[in-house]
């Protein structure tokens, strides 16, 4: 079981958490103007990288709050977790802003 550091509560066991999938996906503001391709891309297409991935997790059996995480999809190791709305930890900013390097 993974040990996950909730930015609000501290380190807890994975069983308390729910994985919310890829993070940083922004809902388009001009939804009515999107083409089918753009809308399908937003709703369904995922990066699914083999390597570091920006994710969102929820401490569902704890504080109930969502937060950001950067996790490696081969080692499963959490490199960082941070609150929604906070800046990305500086050492990982390049990875997250590029959209999780492959």
């Amino acid at each position: 079981m993974l040990q996950i550091n909730c930015p609000f509560c501290g380190t807890r066991a994975e069983i308390e958490f729910t994985c919310g999938g890829e993070g940083g996906i922004v809902r388009p503001l001009n939804a009515e103007a999107l083409s089918d391709a753009e809308w399908g891309d937003y709703v369904f297409m995922r990066k699914n990288p083999k390597g570091l991935q920006h994710e969102q997790w929820r401490h569902s059996s704890g504080c109930g709050r969502w937060f950001n995480a950067l996790r490696h999809t081969v080692s499963y190791r959490f490199e960082a977790t941070w609150k929604i709305g906070e800046p990305v930890p500086a050492e990982f900013a390049a990875v997250v802003n590029e959209g999780a390097a492959q």
């Binding site: 089918d36 995922r46 699914n48 081969v74 080692s75 492959q102």
Partner: protein, 414 residues
Amino acid sequence: MQHFSIWSLLRNSMSYHEGWQKQWRSPEPQREYDVVVVGGGGHGLATAYYLAKEHGLRNIAVIEKGYLGGGNTARNTTIVRSNYLWDESTALYEKSMKLWEGLSQDLNYNVMFSQRGVLNLGHTLQEMRDIERRVNANRLNGVDGEVVTPAQIKEMIPYINLNTRYPVLGASLQRRGGVARHDAVAWGFARAADARGVDLIQNCEVTGIRREGGAVVGVDTVKGFIKAKKVAIVAAGHSSVMASMADIRLPIESKPLQALVSEPLKPIFPCVLMSNAIHAYISQSDKGDLVIGAGVDQYNGYGQRGSYHTIEHTLQAIVEMFPLFSRVRMNRQWGGIVDVSPDACPIIGLTPVKGLYINCGWGTGGFKATPGSGWAMAHTVAQDRPHALNEALSLNRFYNGHLIDEHGAAGVAH
């Protein structure tokens, strides 16, 4: 290819079975192929086999990063059934079932296909309504199915505890469903494809997909560039990684799916039993191990292992239903990487790149489809257009909205 029969067995027994040929060659890659299939698992080998058999292509290579059938083909729980809900998916799985029924003869290889019946349990009234609906849909599609009562389940498995926390209210039963020997499926397709001239190239990772003017021209591999008129990606577990080499985005999330086997027991479990509600499925292999599958882990992962609480959850359900298994020791536990699609249906078809085809998204249940998937994929690649069986299963459905929601029938933990 040496034909396997009672006579060849007898003849070779005279020479202490030392005269058997290798089952397939291990050639070095040629410079150019008509079709390169990326991925030497069951689906990839079946694709190559049906390309050679049904479409008369000769110049085909299967390129595999590791060894043949070493990925999900070796890691699944070997269940075969075709009792899906929607017409589009049922048609493909039933095509596969029909191929399974003649596969050992067709391949001249015993895939140990055993139609011992598959039970899908219902634990709530709504689940029973869904089961009734699915069985009726199956029968309208010519797929066998029946709804069985708790008493009938008890008759099949006398030691089952039906009065669990979520009591068993009934089940669907597909008697033609069952299990097959997973490794033999890969080996049988490999041997039969090799006999038709397909080059099976192992230990050869694909590192890039070369394109010119929007059309595929070949693949870069660790053994150098291989020119190809057509390339078929059949690399479950790494579909997104492969597709990204051609700048194609997929609606796939790769997740760990775990399974485990017990020590071998005398024959005790007569069928395949699955429960979506409590996330458990179990059968017994011909070797005697109880084969138990867990639900899919919640996070994306390429690590071929998952979290312990996931299998613990499954074993709790198994032990509650089968108290007499509580002291059976588990021998091995492992994970495979499954490509989960948003509607729990596969993607088989063309891509935006000309000459590049993809077969992925089988989620937790690709093994049962191995022959049908290869058959449909071979048609798609050879004709450069999908067969009627996989027309609806294109990548395009995520743009035009025609999803085929099989979450109810697809598996254990979507």
